[in-house]
């Protein structure tokens, strides 16, 4: 359960003040699937960073599973990320020198989980995304779709409560993008809260609701069948 109350995030850029998030209020239920849309610079990424505890709101309240996290310090936020949040990035962000399996191991490595358990859970995760035969391959030996599936396996290996995906299909063709979306939907169906930032109305339509941001404010909340390119684009005008 995520609750944002009057969340603002203000950046000082030179002399001017940029309000990347401006008084955002929102509630996301556990297990919900949300899409966030909006033109470039509308605050999508900032919202995602705040939700992911990579960034803190300048003001307002953010409660995650009933816990106020906007006031936590860096070390505490790190632990929140480690245990409660999974990330999937547009550019996959796999460590190039490590095999697929080792990339999935990474979060457990820093969490101090013993090697045997790490290997077992990583292998399980790799199988779950259908890449068991390619577990020993390095990222540069994998296709884009395969890389993103490895990244998804890595994002959920610590069994988080929330999965944040930033344009997860942005660098993929339709077919492998579809596979990744199926994977994400499956995880969501198993109870994981899923928040996807996207430009693509087809991706957004898979979500239960779509939030459209403009200039750091929530402009609209749309049901899936209301998401069209024109509605979103019109919002930017």
């Amino acid at each position: 359960m995520i609750r944002l109350e009057h969340v603002s995030r203000v950046f000082q850029v030179g002399d001017s003040v940029v309000r990347a998030l401006d008084d955002v209020c929102e509630e996301i239920r556990t297990g919900e699937h949300i899409a966030i849309m909006g033109p470039s610079g509308s605050g999508k990424s900032t919202l995602l960073n705040v939700l992911g505890c990579l960034d803190r709101p300048s003001s307002g309240s953010y409660q995650l599973d009933g816990r106020e996290v906007s006031a936590l310090d860096d070390a505490e936020l790190t632990l929140v990320r480690r245990h409660l949040i999974g990330f999937v990035f547009q550019t996959f962000q796999l460590v190039p020198r490590l095999s697929a399996l080792e990339n999935v191991e990474l979060p457990m490595l820093f969490a101090g989980i013993p090697r045997e358990e790490r290997l077992a859970r990583a292998a399980e995760g790799i199988s779950a995304v259908g890449l068991a035969p390619r577990a020993e391959h390095r990222p540069d030996q994998l296709s884009g779709g395969e890389r993103q599936r490895v990244a998804v396996a890595r994002a959920v290996v610590m069994r988080p409560r929330v999965l944040l995906a930033d344009e997860p299909t942005g660098n993929l063709d339709t077919r492998s993008g579809g596979q990744v979306l199926e994977l994400l939907s499956g995880l969501n169906a198993a109870g994981l809260t899923l928040i996807v930032v996207t430009h693509d109305p087809n991706v957004a339509r898979r979500a239960q609701r779509t939030i459209v941001l403009t200039d750091g404010r929530i402009l609209r909340r749309l049901a899936p069948d209301a998401v069209t390119a024109s509605v979103v684009a019109g919002g930017s005008g």
Binding site: S45, N49, G52, L54, D55, D74, A75, T78, L79, R81, R82, H83, F87, F89, T91, Q93, V95, P96, R97, L98, L106, P107, L109, F110, A111, G112, P114, R115, R154, M158
Partner: protein, 400 residues
């Protein structure tokens, strides 16, 4: 994060860029090898000199007339003022039980000639014990005859070069040479010698001491050389000699020079030199730390996205610091190991080429090269590691 996992992760990162890691490692290796090799050579020089001194005899005690405060100087160059007599030598021989041999020495320069040939040489007046005290070997013939110090026969033992020059193509043994206004029969020839403490024993003529003193018209000896029975008795011998001569002369007017003092000051000089070259080598090792720092800074800059990712996945700041610090330490550790091995091999090669030069890296130098390399890796790796840890994850991830 467990330390084994941390090291494995760091090693993985280093292998990710073999050339760069290899070159940095080489920098540390060269510094460590320099420390090992230069100290090995310093110690080798020290040991070599000690060995040379041992050849002369570390049990040697020289009694020099006059109260000069010369330390570590050659036993043949200090100033003589007070008398030191043959009677003193006899008394020392009789009343100093620690003295195994006592050789009175009178010395001067004189022209030695035979037929048309003549040569200016150092003339030493002494006894048969001179050769033993000075550890000089007789080549052919016989040593000076033993007997009364105050009466000498007109015989001479020549250095190898003098003998060869004065008697070209002839046997010098039994020949008569003229030394100043003295005529003496050649009874012995020394083995060719190296130079010992500034005295060329190839260019000497050794006469019985009484003859030499008469030749130079002197009543005082140049010095008295004493071969002490055991090195442990040296101090006792010194005390007894000093007391005996003070009693005989009415005051303490002699100076005692032992090889110990000379050896010690040489050894001190060489040890200081070794430390100095070790310090220079240590500087080159420290400079290799700049290489580590440079590589780590580049690595941090290149791996910003990775750092951002690791932070997003729940890596703590401290863990990021440790990951990069471990890389720097691994680089310096491997560099030190390679360098020490390299240095040891080079030293072995040197010893193999020049067996007379007993070079060996001292343990303290190997240990300090190792510790210093690790220290340098840690010190120069810390700043880049902290820079990585301080990266803002959002900014780090955003930059591709």
């Amino acid at each position: 994060m467990k330390s084994g996992d941390l090291l494995a992760f760091a090693a993985r990162a280093l292998r990710g860029n073999r050339l760069r890691s290899g070159l940095t490692l080489l920098g540390v290796a060269i510094g460590s090898a320099a420390v090992v090799m230069l100290t090995a050579m310093g110690e080798g020089a020290n040991r070599y000199v000690m060995r040379q001194f041992e050849g002369i005899g570390s049990n040697l005690l020289a009694v020099v007339p006059g109260k000069t405060e010369t330390h570590g100087a050659s036993a043949f160059t200090s100033v003589t003022t007070e008398d030191l007599t043959l009677e003193d030598a006899e008394a020392l021989r009789r009343f100093v039980p620690e003295a195994q041999r006592v050789a009175p020495v009178s010395m001067g320069s004189e022209t030695v000639s035979h037929a048309e040939r003549s040569r200016q040489v150092a003339v030493v007046g002494s006894t048969s014990e001179f050769l033993e005290v000075q550890k000089v070997r007789l080549g052919r013939g016989s040593n000076l005859p033993p007997g009364d110090l105050r009466r000498g026969t007109a015989v001479v033992v020549l250095g190898a070069t003098v003998a060869a020059e004065l008697f070209p193509g002839a046997d010098p043994l039994g020949g008569i040479v003229r030394i100043g206004d003295l005529r003496a029969r050649v009874i012995g020839i020394l083995e060719p010698q190296g130079t010992q403490l500034g005295m060329n024993l190839n260019e000497v003529a050794i006469l019985p001491v009484a003859k030499a003193m008469r030749l130079f018209n002197r009543s005082s000896l140049f010095r008295i050389l004493i071969d002490v029975r055991a090195h442990a008795d040296l101090d006792a011998a010194k005390e007894r000699v000093r007391a005996l001569l003070a009693e005989r002369h009415g005051e303490e007017d002699v100076t005692l020079i032992s090889q110990d003092a000379v050896v010690e000051s040489f050894s001190n000089i060489l040890r200081t030199l070794t430390l100095a070259v070790a310090a220079i080598a240590a500087i080159s090792l420290a400079v290799s730390g700049l290489g580590i720092m440079n590589v780590m800074l580049v690595s941090v800059a290149e791996r910003r996205a990775e750092v951002g990712l690791l932070r997003a996945l729940g890596a703590e700041r401290g863990q990021i610091t440790r990951v990069f610090l471990a890389e720097a330490l691994l680089l310096s550790l491997l560099g030190a190991l390679v360098g020490i091995a390299l240095g040891a091999v080079c030293v072995q090669l040197l010893v193999w080429l020049y067996p007379a030069f007993p070079a060996r890296p001292p343990l303290w130098a190997v240990a300090s090269a190792f510790v210093l390399a690790l220290g340098v890796g840690g010190a120069f790796g810390l700043a880049p590691a902290r820079r990585a840890a301080r990266l803002d994850p959002v900014a780090a991830l955003a930059r591709k």
